[in-house]
């Protein structure tokens, strides 16, 4: 069976000779599954997100061993642009993910890069805004939105590329309770759409939506049996 995302003996160290941050990780994400990865600060969660999304080794340096496969193809054989067509990643800080002065332009940026015809882009802008609960925000300036709205906009910008795999790297880290609830609701609806989701977080309450939880600690992964065990660990 070909999995949407699979890591085979994945390892990573920042430079040659330094102790590895990730060691021989093996896991796969099934189609439509929500996999949560938790771990204490500094355990390598963001680095793992970078490896899963091909940012490592394609954009950032360091020494990556083993392999990450997207739909059976190694990320080493893909380009970031090719990866963007099947995988979307939302980062922690919305401030550095938004760079235009109008919401619609922000969402259109990805599809324009992928040469999507303009009339489809128009449709995707409305659909993405609807999905993240920001209808009527088309003409607004992203920099005048609240933190939660900015993060939802960053998510809308990724959704406009219509990726089948989504990675959320501590997307609620900068948000208040209301913003966190809204993002959680959106993730639930994306799960219902059948998208494959990997969410990385250190807040156990954020992971209720997950089908499976893995704990990243000391560079290795292990299964977490249930939510109670997770709360006890963290």
């Amino acid at each position: 069976m070909t999995f949407p995302l699979k890591a085979v003996q994945l390892g990573y160290s920042f430079s040659f000779g330094t102790p590895p941050l990730l060691r021989d990780l093996n896991f796969e994400v099934r189609p439509g599954e929500v996999l949560a990865i938790v771990g204490p600060s500094g355990s390598g969660k963001t680095t793992l997100c970078h490896c899963m999304s091909g940012i490592i080794p394609l954009i950032l340096g360091g020494t990556m061993t083993g392999d990450v496969q997207l739909h059976g193809v190694s990320t080493r054989k893909l380009t970031p642009a090719r990866i963007a067509q099947c995988l979307g990643i939302v980062f922690q800080n919305p401030e550095t993910q938004l760079f235009f002065s109008e919401v619609a332009d922000e969402i259109a940026f990805g599809p324009e890069n992928l040469c999507v015809p303009p009339f489809i882009i128009e449709k995707r802008i409305d659909e993405a805004l609807e999905k993240v609960g920001l209808p009527g925000f088309r003409g607004r300036n992203p920099h005048e939105l609240s933190g939660g709205e900015k993060q939802r906009l960053a998510l809308a910008a990724v959704l406009s590329l219509d990726p089948s795999i989504l990675i959320f790297d501590e997307v609620t880290a900068h948000l208040d309770q209301d913003g966190t609830h809204r993002i959680r609701a959106i993730i639930k609806s994306l799960k219902q759409e059948g998208r494959t989701i990997v969410m990385v977080d250190h807040d156990p309450h954020q992971l209720e939506v997950a089908d499976r939880i893995l704990l990243l600690k000391d560079g290795t992964l292990r299964n977490v049996l249930d939510h109670d065990e997770l709360v006890a660990i963290l």
Partner: protein, 247 residues
């Protein structure tokens, strides 16, 4: 009001032509009187584009110091004109010094005020305009990102400065030498912050398919209207006529 709307709604490329004409005149012309005429024209155009007086005044204010410094330097190091203020045998303020300082400041004012006309278009429109002028999208996009991130950098510098002051560094009470040394301490966290933000931005851009293909589509295409041609063409012809009459 309607006229302002028509002008602000101009194609960014037309505005760019306008800014280039005004800035070129500011560089080409040498006489203070002619530079004054161009500055007046620039101010009038800025008013037509609905540029507020306050930002213009705020930007112009910092040029007064340059004017004073230039006036003294030009008066001391050039001969000619009438001396108004003497320090022994040296003329500190002369008519020639004032004239040359006035010329320099007027040139700067023309560039600063005319550039504010560009701010009436959104960065996205400017990028689109430049792309349709066949300027590589990567280059145009970088310009837009720079415009977007400059205020963020300023904010970061202010935050670092506040953090320093909260640690008990009373900047106002420090002599200039030590104050400069404190400012140098700002550089490291600022550069680190900028590097980190640039990295995050680059990742977000790459992961949204930037440079996926040699071409890209645009859901919003700029189409110049007859008014754009009239304004742009009028400015170019006007510049030609003005220079022909003057020289």
């Amino acid at each position: 009001m309607i006229l302002t709307e028509r002008f602000t709604g101009l194609d960014p490329r037309t505005k760019l032509v306008l800014v280039m004409v005004l800035s070129s005149l500011g560089v080409i012309l040498q006489e203070v009187l002619l530079l004054g005429i161009v500055w007046f024209l620039t101010l009038s155009l800025a008013a037509l584009f609905g540029v507020g007086w306050r930002p213009i005044l705020r930007r112009s204010r910092m040029l007064f110091g340059i004017f004073a410094a230039m006036a003294i330097i030009q008066s001391v190091f050039t001969t000619g004109g009438h001396g108004f203020l003497w320090l022994g045998p040296v003329s500190v303020i002369s008519s020639l010094g004032l004239e040359r300082a006035g010329g320099v400041v007027l040139r700067l004012l023309i560039v600063v005020v005319s550039a504010s006309i560009m701010a009436t278009s959104s960065p996205r429109e400017i990028v689109q305009g430049l792309s349709q002028w066949r300027i590589p999208y990567e280059l145009a996009f970088m310009v837009a990102v720079a415009i977007r991130f400059l205020p963020l950098l300023r904010q970061e510098a202010l935050e670092t400065l506040t953090a320093l002051q909260l640690r008990g560094v009373a900047l106002e009470q420090l002599p200039w030498g030590r104050r400069l040394r404190v400012y140098s301490y700002l550089l490291m966290p600022m550069i680190a912050g900028v590097m980190s933000k640039s990295k995050e931005l680059a990742l977000a851009v790459e992961m949204r398919g930037f440079r996926a293909y040699s071409q890209r589509t645009a859901y919003r295409v700029l189409r110049p209207r007859p008014f754009d041609y009239a304004v742009g063409g009028g400015m170019l012809v006007g510049m030609g006529l003005f220079l022909w009459i003057v020289y």
